[in-house]
Point group: C2
Amino acid sequence: MIKCTVCGLREAFYVRRYSGEKLCVKCFLESIEGRVKATIAKYNMLRFNDRIAVAVSGGKDSTSLLYILAKIERDFPMASLYAITVDEGIMGYRDEAIEIASEHCRSLGVKHFVTSFKELYGYTLDDIVKRIRFSGSRLTPCSYCGVLRRKALNMLAAKIGATKIATAHNLDDEVQTFLLNIIHGDFLRISRTGPSFDEEEPGLVPRVKPLCETLEKEVALYAYLKGIRFQENPCPYAGEALRNDVRNMVNRLEEKHPGTKYKIYRSAEKIRGAVKDKSPRIPLNQCKICGEPTVSDICQACNLIQNI
Amino acid sequence: MIKCTVCGLREAFYVRRYSGEKLCVKCFLESIEGRVKATIAKYNMLRFNDRIAVAVSGGKDSTSLLYILAKIERDFPMASLYAITVDEGIMGYRDEAIEIASEHCRSLGVKHFVTSFKELYGYTLDDIVKRIRFSGSRLTPCSYCGVLRRKALNMLAAKIGATKIATAHNLDDEVQTFLLNIIHGDFLRISRTGPSFDEEEPGLVPRVKPLCETLEKEVALYAYLKGIRFQENPCPYAGEALRNDVRNMVNRLEEKHPGTKYKIYRSAEKIRGAVKDKSPRIPLNQCKICGEPTVSDICQACNLIQNI
């Protein structure tokens, strides 16, 4: 029997290649929860009296995040936790995920709020995809979905009086986004994306990413070990081609050189710090159509909806 | 016949995927020479009266660079051009390359200077590799070769009174190095590597990279079309594993998404600018053993040689 290198007692079931640790189930689970707590503390993500809205899609990351935050929240009686979900309107996919999310919230005793593209914008994502495919637009379903979902989450969080939105982006997501921004040459976005985006902006609920220092595969392992049910099918509109290529390439590098993802993550942190000081802060306006915060006159979401 | 999109006259033989241009041989060759001139101008790499030492290994990049610089130099009567080569002592490989380099210099009328590891350090690279393999050192041949060659080039350039060293790093090299520095989390090196490293440092001949904005495959094509003879065999000590992985992954991305390499290059430029301002300039000392410039007491090369 190979013993756990943390407790030295129980049988190890998992080798953390980047650190060399061999972990038993108990120590593995504790290490994930400890990592999330450390990430929250490191970036000052949460205050003792925050009203936290966790963005729950029903996938492994967001269901695990809600589970862990519900556990942590017990120690903070002044804080409160809610789950928020956006129903994009993807038949046969999102409806199933929302079912799972709702059940998960019920079992954790967390109040669950749902909004939808249909209700907010008049179209489901399925409607939008039909129209863009018909019109031959070069925009992908993801480019619509990302913008519209971000706005929907902000609106719902504001409506329920949340002081933070917690999203379940993991370390892999962060590393991919950083590299994508480099590939796109999107200098400003490098400074704006990160573990927490907490500059006070009127109308914008600050966002935090408590899983941003945890590997995707370890989040998945956590969910499996805890028996958390989640939506396993991928979105029928698939992902962005370039992000998939970047994901594969980073996974190959990590496979051959364990620790690569953490190294890239730390470089991103340093570069973000240096870049931030050089980027002027752009004051936000109110969208002339919907009133939501935006850098231009009309927000991206209203712009997209107008041109469908 | 598909016509060249630049001259509109001759038959195109090459499609530049990232720009959509279709080029005839003449316009392709001119575009490469024009790009090198533009790079030199953009980064202020050369002055009208520089004594330029081109580091020539005998490979496609350095023989092409010497060829192009010899052509450009004709318009600058106050400038002078030399070729310098370091013989690392790799039997059956470098000896052949030096032969090629010498012949190339003769045909261009460029004076050629050669130094060697054996002469400077007392060991050939073959000697060093035998010893590190015997001792079970974790250092690779490349890590010795890189440090020792850099010092040798600087010493030889200083000896012949050169005011610049031109190396033949191409766009692919630059992009790989940038990503490797990110993967290694080497923040300082991101600010220090780049198209030209021209901070005045006593004892250090400033280095410039006139091919740094030209794709590797276009440099190779230039050499083939010009009938330049070069060493085609790879170094028997192969490359660094991680760099090879990064090269493959960037090539795959470029294949699928033409223009990716240039995008990463431009991001690297921007990030370097931001990082540079945050990095304190470290004053150089003289190595207590050899007198060459170093950030510590003893330079990296002397350190390595002492521990062989």
